[in-house]
Amino acid sequence: MPEKIEGNDFKSGAMNQEEFIRSYLNSRLNETEKVEYKRLLATDPEFRKEVEFQTDLKATFSKMTGERMKAKLKTFEDELAPSKRKPYGIWLAAASVIVIIGVSLSLFLNNNASSDQLYMAYFKPYENVVQPITRGQSEEASKTEIFMAYEKGNYEKAEKGFQKLYETTNETYYLLYQANALMADHQLKKAIPLLEKQLAFNDEFAEKSRWYLALAYLKTGENTRAEELLREIVNKQGYKANAAKEILKKFE
């Protein structure tokens, strides 16, 4: 703290006036001092000039510091998640390989599986149980086309399609498929609210949404929420109850 300031005494030396203003800018003046500060600001042009100077200087340093910190934080972020886009791809490729070759999941599960690995081992886009892929009638054509894109792994197209289908039909299972397309396209953050919404309908597709939501939480590191959902799945003996039980064991 600057030396004690009494009344107008600080004016006896330039140093004190400087510190008095600085103390104001750092919110260090008491109520009496603040009154004095305001009085001087209103009556003393020299004082006001000094206030303006210090205010500018402080704002300038603040800006420079903020920019320096921002640059640092971005570097930290890059170190933490160098992955952002690319490694997701690798991860997805690995996931498909596992699904396609059908490597036993227990391989992963016997080690100290991370949430990431668990997700990788268990996530497989929900299969098309809605639309048989046949050359059908024209009104069904776009639906077929969208499910075809989904089955072929064209998730971007499928995601947009499901969204439109949901908007036009209000069939809640489109939310589940849209979320699955997003998850397969590594956009977990967007998938989560859709699954939550689907789950809230509490219809026949809800148990699937619960499973995929649990996986999505696993992948995003929200293990507590994932665990809660997995327990619910096990208790309800619903869709994927055994798989949920396996994952829960890895948490213990």
Partner: protein, 184 residues
């Protein structure tokens, strides 16, 4: 209880402490912000600005003493930042209006950093960037960080207070000259 990252080092601008704070609350913040339906990139950007705002508030003495944990304080700033972001990006319909804080308390008021520099401030900045590191540092400690002459003598290893004072005056004079004659 879990130990909090070293606050004083964070305030003093220590990079290790900055990183510690950043990493410590990153995931909880992401989870917290997600309910506002923000993208990961948006959340991280807001999170970084929140940390910078918290730092700024400590420097400006807006937080006299921490009555809560760093986390609670950080998140309360973060909440304002998220609202401001949603407002600016017209995503307000996602929010329940009654949850919104009407006015920001002093300790959450952190606009300084976001305003562009004025003409005068740009001249100042150019001057500061051109002058030597030691001079800039001494001005920063005094005018921005608010250290006393005593504190500056100790932290910068000066012989006595008079040396600090004369050094500071010299640097200040130099800065003022540079502002008046920016071309030099």
């Amino acid at each position: 209880m879990k130990k909090e990252p070293p606050l004083q080092d964070f305030i003093n601008g220590d990079d290790t402490a900055l990183k510690e704070v950043y990493v410590e609350y990153r995931l909880p913040f992401i989870n917290f912000a997600r309910k506002f339906q923000l993208e990961q990139d948006e959340i991280l950007d807001i999170y970084q600005d929140t940390i910078i705002a918290m730092h700024e508030n400590f420097i400006s003495g807006k937080v006299e003493e921490m009555r809560s944990s760093i986390k609670t304080y950080l998140f309360s700033i973060g909440k304002y930042k998220i609202y401001a972001y949603l407002r600016a990006n017209r995503k307000m319909n996602l929010l329940n209006d009654k949850d919104l804080p009407k006015t920001a308390a002093q300790e959450y008021d952190f606009e300084i950093n976001e305003n562009p520099l004025t003409e005068q401030q740009v001249l100042m900045r150019n001057g500061l960037e051109k002058m030597g590191g030691r001079c800039r540092n001494i001005l920063e400690l005094f005018y921005y960080r608010g250290l006393t002459i005593d504190e500056m003598r100790i932290s910068e290893g000066y012989e006595n207070n008079n040396t600090v004072k004369s050094q500071k005056s010299r640097c200040l004079k130099k800065l003022k000259e540079m502002i008046l004659n920016p071309e030099r």
